[in-house]
């Protein structure tokens, strides 16, 4: 594994972000709009004094973390799509670049992207709603790592699907995340789901991550069991998604379809 090849992929995308206003908008526009709409709604609910429940903290916390998950997934899968759109895949994969280096580079891109988002959303939440997400400090970091990991796993899974179906499946890069949102316990606990969906949620790392984060934000207590289950399910899905990606990549090479994706 070579660092210079990982940084090459990374700077190729950073050059792109630097110059492309629509891409920067994609990073910041939706999270900020979400923050405004849900933030004012939370502030309104807080004014109704619902059983001393800290509505602003819980809703805004959930909203910020949901955006981090969705943006980390998009960072990975859209970076692959950029090369498909620009007919650059062949140029990339006829260099000595390894698939593993490509995957690592896109995951680092996800870290950069969520670092930008948490900074902007966190600052806006303080400014607009006096809600300081950073006050929870180190308690949230293990959950943030899991969030990033799960976003990257979803991104890798979507890239593998793109290797099979090409651009006709590109909507997955933008919409797949919403398929798992209802069972991810983002805005409500798993217990609020019907029993059948609670079983589904048990297989989704995001449900443990959001339960754990909610516990930290709402009550200040740290749930080791949620953290452990988040790591365990993420570990399983990480292996499965990487194996799936390698399988689909080898299949694309066998069928000569890598170029036809474009």
């Amino acid at each position: 594994m070579k660092l210079h090849r990982i940084t090459a992929i990374l700077i190729r995308h950073l050059y792109l972000y630097k110059r492309s206003f629509p891409r920067l908008m994609d990073i910041f526009y939706w999270p900020i709009m979400d923050l405004l709409v849900w933030g004012f709604f939370s502030a309104y609910l807080a004014g109704t004094n619902l059983d001393d429940f800290n509505v602003v903290s819980v809703l805004l916390g959930a909203l910020i973390f949901w955006n981090l998950l969705s943006q980390s997934q998009k960072a990975v899968s859209v970076s692959f799509l950029e090369d498909v759109w620009e007919k650059n895949l062949l140029n990339i994969f006829v260099t000595p670049l390894r698939v593993s280096e490509f995957l690592i580079a896109t995951s680092i891109l996800a870290i950069i992207r969520i670092a930008l988002i948490i900074t902007v959303m966190g600052a806006l939440a303080i400014f607009l709603y006096q809600f300081n997400i950073f006050q929870f400090g180190f308690y949230l970091i293990p959950f943030l790592i899991n969030l990033l990991l799960f976003g990257s796993i979803l991104g890798i899974f979507i890239m593998a699907i793109l290797l099979r179906y090409g651009q006709q499946a590109q909507i997955l890069a933008f919409g797949f995340i919403f398929l798992i949102q209802p069972v991810s316990a983002v805005f409500y606990p798993v217990s609020a789901l019907p029993t059948a969906l609670q079983y589904v949620a048990a297989f989704i790392p995001a449900s443990y991550i959001f339960e754990g984060m909610r516990s930290v934000v709402a009550t200040g207590s740290f749930s080791f069991s949620d953290l452990f289950l988040a790591f365990a399910t993420n570990a399983v899905y990480l292996v499965l998604s990487v194996v799936f990606f390698y399988y689909m990549f080898a299949r694309a090479k066998r069928r000569g379809s890598l170029l036809k994706l474009e």
Binding site: H4, I9, D83, E86, L90, N91, V94, K253, G256
Partner: protein, 249 residues
């Protein structure tokens, strides 16, 4: 200019009984050939002959159904990184990211190939291909001829021992195509780069290739120097040889 080749007699590319099936279609049908070091070899044939599939198998982005490939004495199956570090590729059908400036694109690829003093290398090649004034421009703003030269610059960043060129002069006007051929001849002579070249322009193949390999329906139908083939088929030029072979006369 530096010479980067070891002057040995070992072929740059050795292909034995190479087969590629796409489902029930056999795109490449048991071809075997070798290319010499420091020479330009033309890979010719009508559309669907298997030229591009052969190049893609050499580049490792299409997996052969069977057969053996050896590049620079190494097998791609066991020495992928070493081989891809020592070869490069250019095709007008494959783009560089058009939202990046030319210099940014070249820096990205220089980094991918682990080029030391990437900025110096880019400047050196920019002078060679006369694209220095294009470096600060967006890639999307370039003309087809300028893009071809930028693609060739990218293809030489790692001082390749072998260059695979898929129709490098396609869609270029005669003037730019002629300049591109001159560049390629300079690359061959001054840098000792071996080149495998596909084209549908027989006049240019006759002009720059020392040896040609004819493919038709996935098989090698003939090979030799352009002069040998013209004489063998009793034709006036390589274009007529092409038509004779392609039409199975």
């Amino acid at each position: 200019m530096r010479f980067h080749m070891k002057q040995t007699s070992e072929p740059v590319i050795q292909v034995k009984n190479l087969v590629k099936d796409f489902g029930s279609v056999r795109a490449v049908d048991g071809i075997s050939f070798e290319t010499e070091r420091g020479k330009i070899t033309g890979l010719l044939g009508p559309n669907g002959a298997g030229k591009t599939t052969t190049i893609q198998m050499l580049l490792g982005i299409v997996t052969p159904t069977s057969g053996e490939i050896t590049i620079l004495g190494m097998s791609p199956a066991t020495h992928r990184e070493e081989i891809l570090s020592a070869i490069n590729f250019s095709s007008p059908y494959v783009n560089l990211p058009y939202n990046l400036k030319v210099r940014e694109n070249l820096l990205t690829f220089a980094r991918l190939y682990g080029v030391r003093d990437a900025a110096g290398k880019i400047d050196e090649l920019a002078d060679f291909f006369e694209i220095r004034e294009l470096l600060p421009k967006l890639t999307s703003a370039l003309s087809t001829g300028q893009l071809t030269r930028v693609n060739l610059t990218k293809a030489l960043l790692n001082d390749p021992k072998l260059l695979l060129l898929d129709e490098p002069t396609a869609s270029l006007d005669p003037d730019i195509a002629d300049k591109t051929r001159s560049f390629l001849k300079r690359i061959e002579h001054e840098r000792g780069v071996s080149i495998l070249y596909t084209s549908h322009n027989m006049a240019e193949i006759e002009e720059i290739c020392e040896r040609v390999i004819f493919l038709n329906k996935g098989k090698i139908t003939d090979e030799g120097s352009p002069d040998e083939l013209i004489e063998k088929y009793g034709q006036k030029n390589l274009n007529e040889v092409f038509l004779t072979i392609a039409r199975g006369q």
